[in-house]
Symmetry: C2
Subunit: 468 residues, 2 copies
């Protein structure tokens, strides 16, 4: 290992190498602190050429590589195992925006660019880069693409996968594939970009990407709406899509229990409506046109929803800052739940038409198995994506509840499978769900994935133990 | 071969098998009549199970399969070779819409559904299926997906690739992969859908798909605009995107020569503006809102474009029927050019920022090499996609001009490559560009494609001689 480290040091210099135990720890620990790995070192290259040279050394010496960006993933996909033999390849120093081509509506960026910086750079060029998610202040675009990140703007703009025109990838052989084409149409063979997006670093290392930019929204309307049930929320979604079409940018659901946790743990937070209701929808319309039209549309859409008894009450934000307050309620749910104590998280997706039935069925099944259990249900309803989280019954010790993790997961994930859903909507598999997925994917689909893996990474050095 | 045909007949029955020479001919001939193959037979299964059984027989007997839909492809991708040993697998009888889930905004359809029928079925459910292209009355969705079709709505809704949530595919082994999930988010491993989309039937046979549906547009504004040059058209594109954002649905360019060919060969056609100009843009705005707002917006956008001297004149359609007349001018270009005589077609894409320079450079280079040559330049400018076609100089016999095909292609495609473009934007490679692409793709990229092909089709029975 010493020889390996010396070879790598000659590639990246002392500034690009971390080897001391205490310095390694943050890189070796995942965001939720569920996994702590033991890497041989962390290498931080600053150019694609350095990445390629490192991978060649690893291929030659059969050292496993764990690609890492902002290390904000929720499934342990960027955390090495405990063997002490895996190398973390952290892309954070590759953080240049290589080009913004505003007429082509594209930007070419390196993997280590922090997402929020890309949003800002796009805005400076009077464009929108729409990917937006909780970790945007520290997650990096290479990780976003490797996990096909979702977030709050998928309803309008799609997942990370749909925001990419081209990639640069260092392959497991150490060769560099330059697919940095800024083309909206290119039908010249298999779409290799799509293979690497969402592969969680198991097929190669994404080092740069050409991203799509969009016209900047210049007006917005944000509302919190009270609904009687998830079923009513879904009827509202249909109503809003019909009334507002392409303007509907976000459609988020959260339950009264979610709101109560936020209000309990954050003194500054205030309930959005004078009374409390069973469920809430946070929705947002946006438009490239400036002016009041989008607000007027939101008002009329909500008025007719009230008339049709789809909703019980609604508050339309009167200012950007009130819109921010509404969004904060939604964004603080995860943290509030963490303050409340350990809980069991699920990131699931379902056909939108089956969500209501899924929630009712799964709530009932969990309540039967674990009386008093508390569901913290929220998520990107417009995308069919629920964060169906579960907190212990009041008074039950966290420890004893967390011992039921596998049993709770089994109930939730089996229900997801029965409803034609996915057990990982936007977070990926990583190491957290790598075994779990085998229960839900057909052997044939797993076999196809294994063949793709073997075709691209025959030595098996790219992020082993993840995904497949 | 007789034994093979008998085995296949027992699978599909007599109604599913074509073996007589005259009946085989239309299936064996491509749309542009450039390729005429000699198939052993045409088999027309009516269920996925029949497809699977046919493929198993072929895998066992090493018979090559040429999947075929509406047979409207422009690159010979669905035409067998002349060996007499390849089997055409025509999906036209698999034409059921299995489900429309309007709340999930999806429809599950079989490969043989004609595109226009799917558009209508979506409209009947008050939804939009946006894929739209010249051949929509006879092309089939399986072919559209296998070639990742483009068309006139890509600017707003994306290519076929972006309209798919899930696939059902019969693999080269005869096993059936059921990936028919109607999920907007699903991060559980490699995205196999994307591998089969655009693979032109070389990795498996797409038998069904879950397609995305969108809110129905309820107002529209269509205009033909005169511009001085492609550069001005591009400036108008930027202006229109800024002013109209998500409402810009189509942005098509055509030159005066294109218009003159349409007027010459179609008596009913009329010039859209009182005078004639160098280039025209056909643009369309659409909105899910009914009413006049989108027309008013189009008027103000065009007025400010006139003021900024981006455009010279504009005609905004006063009715749906006038909009249809404008579209017809654009749609008749290919046919008008065919009436004019043989020509050399190119389906290229470029970064939008480089299109103007590309046209100027390539026009000049072709004029130097072939004095008097006439460029028929039109296409989906909003997507960076040009149909950069070339007609012989006036008075030059078609035959002698067509002998220059390779030299003309070389000039055009080399210029595309220098500008960072693609030599097949929306038509695919098929057999037409299978060899040509080797000049423009890196050996590494070709090697990756070959590895994917070998991993999924180790026997090489799926549409050999196409793509790779």
């Amino acid at each position: 290992m010493t020889a390996l480290i010396e070879r790598i040091r000659t590639i990246v210099g002392p500034a690009g190498l971390v080897t001391s135990e205490p310095e390694l720890l943050p890189y070796a620990t995942d965001w939720r602190k569920r996994y702590v790995g033991r890497p041989v070192a962390v290498v931080k290259p600053s150019t694609t050429e350095e990445v390629a040279r490192i991978v060649r050394v690893c291929a030659e010496t059969r050292i496993a590589i764990v690609p890492q960006g902002g290390n904000t993933g929720l499934c342990g996909g960027a955390t090495p195992d405990a063997s002490g033999s895996q190398l973390i390849l952290n892309l954070s120093r590759m953080n240049r925006i290589r080009e913004i081509d505003s007429r082509n509506n594209t930007m070419t960026v390196e993997a280590g660019c922090v997402l929020a910086n890309l949003q800002r750079a796009a805005a400076d060029a009077e464009r929108l880069f729409p990917l937006s998610l909780a970790a945007e202040g520290s997650c990096e675009i290479g990780g976003n693409l490797s996990t096909n990140a979702g977030g709050v703007a998928v309803l309008r703009y799609g997942n990370a996968r749909e925001l990419v025109l081209g990639l640069e990838v260092v392959l497991p052989s150490g060769e560099t594939w330059n697919g940095l084409r800024g083309l909206r149409k290119d039908n010249t063979g298999y779409d290799l970009n799509q293979l690497f997006i969402g592969a969680e670093g198991t097929l190669g290392v994404i080092t740069a990407a050409v991203l799509k930019l969009f016209p900047l929204p210049r007006s917005r309307a944000t509302a919190v709406v009270a609904v009687q049930s998830p079923a009513k929320a879904l009827a509202l979604l249909e109503h809003a899509l019909r009334a507002c079409g392409e303007r509907l940018t976000a459609f988020e659901l959260f339950s009264e229990f979610c709101l109560s946790l936020v209000l309990k743990h954050f003194r500054d937070a205030a309930a959005p409506l004078p009374e409390r209701y069973s469920h809430y929808v946070l929705l947002e319309l946006s438009d490239s046109q400036p002016g009041d039209a989008v607000r007027v549309l939101a008002e009329s859409m909500l008025a007719s929803a009230l008339e049709k008894e789809l909703i019980i009450d609604a508050a339309l934000a009167q200012s950007e800052s009130q819109a921010g307050v509404f969004w904060k309620l939604r964004e603080l749910i995860s943290e509030a739940q963490a303050h409340e104590g350990p809980n069991i998280k699920h990131d699931v997706s379902l056909p939108i038409s089956r969500i209501s039935e899924f929630i009712a069925m799964t709530d009932a099944e969990l309540a039967r198995a674990f009386p008093g259990i508390r569901m913290v249900v929220f998520g990107h309803l417009g995308d069919g994506n629920l964060h169906y989280n579960v907190s212990p019954p009041e008074g039950v010790a966290a420890d004893s509840f967390m011992r039921e993790l596998a049993a709770v997961n089994r109930i939730v994930h089996d229900a997801v499978a029965r409803s034609g859903g996915s057990i990982s909507a936007e977070h990926g598999l990583g190491q957290l769900k790598r075994d779990e997925i085998r229960r839900y994917k057909s052997p044939l689909e797993l076999e196809l994935m294994r063949r793709v893996k073997a075709a691209l990474d025959p030595l098996g050095i790219m992020n082993p133990g993840k995904v497949i």
